[in-house]
Symmetry: none
Amino acid sequence: MAARVRLSAEVRRAQIVDSAIGVIADDGFAAATFARIARRAGLSSTALISYHFTDKADLMRAIVGAVFAKAYDFIRPRMDAQSSPAAILHEFIVASVEFYAAHPQAIRALTAVRGNLRRADGRPEFGPEIHDPELAQLQEFMHQAQRAGEMATFDTRVAAVSLRAALDAAALEVSRPDRTDPARYARELARLFASATGQKAVKP
Amino acid sequence: MAARVRLSAEVRRAQIVDSAIGVIADDGFAAATFARIARRAGLSSTALISYHFTDKADLMRAIVGAVFAKAYDFIRPRMDAQSSPAAILHEFIVASVEFYAAHPQAIRALTAVRGNLRRADGRPEFGPEIHDPELAQLQEFMHQAQRAGEMATFDTRVAAVSLRAALDAAALEVSRPDRTDPARYARELARLFASATGQKAVKP
Amino acid sequence: MAARVRLSAEVRRAQIVDSAIGVIADDGFAAATFARIARRAGLSSTALISYHFTDKADLMRAIVGAVFAKAYDFIRPRMDAQSSPAAILHEFIVASVEFYAAHPQAIRALTAVRGNLRRADGRPEFGPEIHDPELAQLQEFMHQAQRAGEMATFDTRVAAVSLRAALDAAALEVSRPDRTDPARYARELARLFASATGQKAVKP
Amino acid sequence: MAARVRLSAEVRRAQIVDSAIGVIADDGFAAATFARIARRAGLSSTALISYHFTDKADLMRAIVGAVFAKAYDFIRPRMDAQSSPAAILHEFIVASVEFYAAHPQAIRALTAVRGNLRRADGRPEFGPEIHDPELAQLQEFMHQAQRAGEMATFDTRVAAVSLRAALDAAALEVSRPDRTDPARYARELARLFASATGQKAVKP
DNA sequence: GATGAATGAGGTTTCATTCAT
DNA sequence: CATGAATGAAACCTCATTCAT
């Protein structure tokens, strides 16, 4: 019998979240039972999960929060370092793809949880509207670029939705075994986006 | 008590598939239990499902097949009626969005099943490679358009993946309660794609 | 492995109710888990209980209903055969004690369920008001006896409550191992009640 | 966060017992988990209960002891102040009902624990024999009253059991929201008892 | 004395599926 | 073809209790 290991709540929670991400990424949302998560994390009992999370939904929300925070911390500073709206969007694309390539499991788990988690009443915990704040952000940058003459006129909602979707697809694409080189994929996608939005000059 | 109804196997299967699509679209993949599907279909016993489908996986695959066939029958003839590669792709986009707007439940169920169904060994039944044949098709049309001088040069894989993803996102977008008018969405998306691919002239 | 036994829902439900009564009477309300009830009834799985009862509360309510019906069927006809209000109450006492002596397990289970069953919100399923209809009945007979000059004047609510309580206590008393002879206990209690209510003559 | 409070063992035990009484009275025996008791008492951990009581059964026995002692201290002196056996029994009844009216929670908890607590082997911790000493006491007073010519002859065991039961019922009756005035209830019950036992004169 | 983390047993319930009718 | 009863596995969660600090 393994010795009783005592960790701080924070560390234990992170450990459980990581284990859950692994299970979901490898075996799918439905396979993410407490028993499997506990086994993968080397916990003595599933009760330990219940001790640190009020609910299974609570654990799932923690996964979303953790992945989202990690992505934000990686991508945001690189966007902030840019000086023009078009450059910001370009960097957003490139940094996002890089992050996806670096953390394929987290992204797969995030997608699975977002698509499957439901409230007790059956309504989705994360409906399509979950993307709206981010889409609004993207649209704002596009508007700025349009006003600055960096981009042509187009429907920013359709463009933002399509860009967001293209990035989600890129996440899967760059984590395939026979995957394209992520840097090249990012470059191509950015070029495609620049062309779609009618940018005059594309970064070399 | 409802009278015992006897139907031909084919009709019964279709009824069960439809019911399952409704449950998945409304309440999610995990809620698609035999009990719920049977109740929604007005069946007296879940055994009837087991009788007509060897497996739960069998039922799920039947859903995918049914939706896919319906979409194919709607979209394919309209593509075939076009005369140039670029026009074919344009029609593909427009017809797809129209189909999504007309059958939101089917699309939502299809997405859910594709994302969640696993084989007994845990591997996904529909991995990312499921899209490959369709992507290859799209890439082929793009190549033809490029050779014909209708489109500029770009990485067709990235473009095809992104288009496929943008269409999936469109499906959700046009089935939201406060949804954009599908026809307009289709037009905007087609224009965006035309611009991204460097098409000279866009259909009015 | 035992052969699969198929029973009608009605028979199976009765079997489960009986088993549950036995467990509660022998080992208490808290011990009445599905596992123990199933084992005592020789069921292959606790799922069979869930199949026949929507809830654990549903099973508990079935116990109360079953015991109550059995007692009613035994006691009521004997009351109806009497010709005066005082004689009816006398017979009520005697028949009740006899029933308790004949079915000690059922009575103990009934008491346990009534005292412990709670609704989901925590409120008692059977509060003190559960006795009110029966108490009202008893008070009505007492009033009739008073008007007929068979009984003196007294507060019928207090008398009815006390009689009901004395009978409950009698149930325990006559089911003790070293128990008094039930017939004698019934006679003594009836005499005590007659005296308390100021009856002129007591049945010999 | 609440400051860490250090109390003497005695005070802490009493605090826990009070909290447990409250939980049992409000939500029933089954709801009396360490978690709920600790929360209601404002304790930071259930371990504190385990520290002060060897067992859950130990806590339950402490509840019974505490309530019993409180009742004894209230009722006994008033009985001792009487001069005749009949007067003692009269005062016992009146004082008991007054106590029940003043401490409804304690009584409800006492009843619940007595009815449900079991030993490890499943046998009741407080069987029907728990009442025997008190019943013997009551019977002794009745015998004395009979010898003194204050009461008629009757079976004292039946009378004592019935009186004890009538008092338990009174406890519930006077704690109902629409309750009878306890003083009046006590008077009526005492009169009923006097009449049942053939007392010559009843105290005014 | 007090605390928060950890433990393992066991609770109800739901599931897909099988079987006899 | 259809049905309702039966099955055994496994789900989440709560429990009293122990342990290290």
